[in-house]
Assembly symmetry: C2
Homo-oligomer: 328 residues x 2
Amino acid sequence: MTDLSLLPVQEIMARDPAHAPLDREPDWAAGAAYIIDRFVPIGEARVPITDLGFLRADAVYDVVSVGRGQFFRLSDHQKRFARSCTRMKLSNPFSQAEEAALLNELVARTGFKDAYVWWAVTRGANLPRPDDRLHSDRFLNRFYAFVTPYVFIKDDASRQRGIHLHVSENYVRIPPNAVDPRAKNFCSLDLNMSLMEAGEAGAGWSVMTDGAGVLTEAPGSNIFVVRGNRVLTPESGCLEGITRLTARELCSEIGLEVVAGTVTVDDLMSADEAFLTSSAGGILPVSTVDGQPICQGAGPNSTRVHNTYWERRWAGWHATPVDYGASR
Amino acid sequence: MTDLSLLPVQEIMARDPAHAPLDREPDWAAGAAYIIDRFVPIGEARVPITDLGFLRADAVYDVVSVGRGQFFRLSDHQKRFARSCTRMKLSNPFSQAEEAALLNELVARTGFKDAYVWWAVTRGANLPRPDDRLHSDRFLNRFYAFVTPYVFIKDDASRQRGIHLHVSENYVRIPPNAVDPRAKNFCSLDLNMSLMEAGEAGAGWSVMTDGAGVLTEAPGSNIFVVRGNRVLTPESGCLEGITRLTARELCSEIGLEVVAGTVTVDDLMSADEAFLTSSAGGILPVSTVDGQPICQGAGPNSTRVHNTYWERRWAGWHATPVDYGASR
């Protein structure tokens, strides 16, 4: 295998005019939101305090990224979001076509070429009669969305070095029989606490187990473990990540055998390489786990998947171009 | 044991002028809120969409009730809230004295004599650099609160009949090693889904297990099982409910032996009586579990605890009178 170096993605993006945002009014150039029934600049975007999405994390959401003016795998994200709604008995007030038009409009208003596009359906307002909480059809579910500039979980230098990963000891991931992580939802206090535990341990990100030594997922990310010619990723207890799906496809393409199954902490500690996948950052190589070296910097397979991911995205793979002239 | 009948609490409250709200402007008479740094009528109370309390359920909260113009066990609620903050590495911008003054001011603005007083500290705004998520001290935590009219989970007639309880089969309670339920928090999608499961089963409320036949808690409530002279309540995997604490004290007073420990579904099914406890409704007797009769209507011990609870509260037990003339 030839020695590859990790593409300095942010450096490339900063130089390339294809990533420069279009001119917009300052209010919209900071970000845009859709609140229940109207578009507002992000600075004015607020949720009624009695919305059950806030009071009880009763909501599902999704996030799609835009790169170089193109949504990546938009329909895959929309299909996953529809499954999340069904799993949590939430009813999306918009059709998938309306939803796509609305997300496009949000990006168009900001002029962003690289963006983080978040949307959710919440249970809606709390109902005056507690008995109504027993019936999903008595709620008026609400739609919220916002667009902010794209942010990388880690910068070029951190990706090149590979991050220090901490396996959470104090928190396990909420199990699927409590809240199904395949329905992307707000209940992530466990994930957030594990991040602060990682910070205290001097690490750069966390990963969570099921409490019995089996890996589940990392905050906002799925995990992959490379061992020889095989790549392992947890099959259950985790989000059905779209970047996870993409990484699986790319691994197969470069001749690695991909296995979704049980992946233990021991598998991770004895791996040749490991990486995290997320919409907010793509492929994130791991160099140490709990202070133990896994590999020197970003491993060769991680690097290849990382570089291929960005080259394909910029070339328009699975892309839906943003219509910047659109207006509803 | 003499045959007691359950006090018609709502009927009594409706007749008694001590429960009539004071006159206020219509905007405030619907409810009041405190949003980060200011008081607003409830209809204008909104949370920035990028607050992590919304996006990631990264928050703790508490609820204290006001009855007949008096907070009930306010300092117990405040102490629990302080413990919740500590457990989740959240920093309350207000001291306990400031918090108490603020909650009082909210009730005073509405003129409510019977109210539900909710407050929370959230992680605050999402931070621009994802690396900052690893350090709790880099967040600016935010305070939110609101007051709405008091609502009973179930009405007089339902409490007199006793409710039909459903033991959730499809969902288990989020375990303490994922998100500690002693820190009252927003992650309650499991509880909400179990309520809808109960609704589909024709029941009136749900209760959740740990997945191994051990009871944990019910949505917004703790559970008690009466068996002869003994009263059992789950010791762990549940909120340290203030009404649970109160019910334990009242049970002891009326000569029942209270045991906090492991309580199984079998214990519940073979109980003489059972009841739920919550700030939103006090003592809620159970008459059937999964369609099996536990007792006929509200059982005698449940009735005694229920009635004593309200008689004591109205007599000013553990009360902090609202200062309706207060203004900051």
